[in-house]
Structures are given as C-alpha cells and as structure tokens.
C-alpha cells in the first residue's frame, strides 16, 4: 500500500467512526428528549474538532507504526515514497469532485426537510451527516482509483 493510500485509508476509517459516533449521539438525544439546538451545535463542534485532531494524529501514528513494522520485517531502513506526483494530484482532484457532488446532493436533501415542515434543527443535523458522508464517499472513490491504477 502506497503512502497516499495509507493516508486515505486512515481518513476513511476516522470519518466512518466519526459518522457512527455522530449517529449514535443523535439517536441518544432523540430518545432522551434532549434534541435541542444547544446539544446539536455542541455535537457539531465535537465532530469538527474530532475530524481535524484525530485525523492528524491517526495519520502520524499510522506512518510511524507501519514504518517500524516494515523495518522489523525487512531489517532495513524503510524507503518512504512520500512524493505526490501528477497521478496522485489527478486522483485527488477526482476524489474532491466526487466529495463536492455528494456534498451538494446532501445539502439539497437537507433543504428538502423544510418542504416537509421540519424545524431548522433537523436540516442542520442532516447537513453535517451528509458532509461527513460526502467525505467518506470521496475517500472510497480515491481508494478505488488507486486500486484500479487510475
């Protein structure tokens, strides 16, 4: 697995876990009757902070541990191919395009809740759900392109 693929995999796992955490917390709030703007926006803050902090640390730790394991296996200093070439840039662009498309569809679907007479809180809850989901879909498309070759 290349350096870029490792990065994407780490981000994908993180965002999947974050999405799971978000859904569990939202359902807990609904069941407990505490689904209000204060709790929802606090959850927004937690999700954004988690997405940034956990992804940075998880990426760093993954590279450290994978290189240690590789060095133990091969008994040599691992060769880290961390350059980003034109193919990486193109795959990244395609992934970003998929993320933006999924995100745009998510925003439109979130807005549709107003049509069905739902309060703005539902729209904001769905907005972050689709935001994280779009990131996951983008990462899956990037991984697919790397596995396929391009």
């Amino acid at each position: 697995m290349s350096f870029q693929e490792k990065n994407i995999t780490v981000t994908l796992v993180n965002f999947t876990l974050i999405l799971g955490f978000y859904l569990i917390r939202v359902f807990q709030m609904i069941q407990a009757g505490s689904f209000n703007s204060t709790n929802v926006f606090r959850l927004w803050g937690i999700i954004i902070a988690l997405a940034i902090v956990v992804t940075i640390f998880a990426t760093i730790l993954t590279h450290i541990f994978s290189n240690i394991i590789l060095a133990i296996k091969t008994k040599e200093e691992p060769h880290i191919e961390d350059i980003q070439d034109e193919r990486d840039n193109l795959i990244d662009l395609r992934g970003t395009k998929v993320t933006y498309t999924a995100s745009s569809i998510g925003v439109a679907l979130s807005m549709l809740t107003f049509v069905f007479g739902q309060p703005p809180l539902v729209m904001f809850t769905l907005l972050i759900f689709f935001g994280v989901l779009a990131q996951i879909i983008g990462d899956i498309s990037r991984l697919y392109l790397y596995r396929r070759g391009f």
């Binding site: 290349s2 070439d85 990486d88 396929r148 070759g149 391009f150």
Partner: protein, 75 residues
C-alpha cells in the same frame, strides 16, 4: 471501461537498459513506482512533460516510447 488509447514501450525499454527497475525509473523521472506500474499497464496516460522526461531517460525520441492507437475504444 474502454482501453487506453496511449500505448507505450516502457517495459521493453527498461529491460533493454540493463533491466532498469520500476523504482529506478520512477526516481529518475520524479514520480512514484505506482505511477510507473499504472503506465506500463496502460491504465494511466502521463502528461506531455512526464512523457518527455521518460523519453529523455531512455535517450530515445518520444514516438519510440509512446504511440497513439486511434482504433481503440476511448478510456
């Protein structure tokens, strides 16, 4: 998925140059080994600049490394 229209002789040229490895070629042209693999499998068409760099490494004109198959289905 259609076949790539840009064909290449990179693998053949590597072997004719003292069996140059994919890693060695990648380092010489400044890309990752995965990109060389994708090009050899004709899954990725390089930019014009990268194509020239590869031709320079082998010391041959561009047309000896890359060719265009107009008959193939577009990728």
């Amino acid at each position: 998925m259609g076949k790539n229209r840009v064909k290449n002789n990179i693998r053949k040229l590597r072997f004719s140059r003292d069996e140059m490895t994919q890693q060695q070629l990648a380092e010489k042209v400044g890309v990752t080994r995965q990109t060389i693999i994708a090009m050899e499998q004709e899954k990725y068409s390089p930019s014009l600049e990268l194509a020239f760099r590869i031709a320079l490494v082998f010391g041959v004109p561009l047309v000896e490394v890359f060719s265009y198959d107009a008959e193939a289905e577009p990728a």
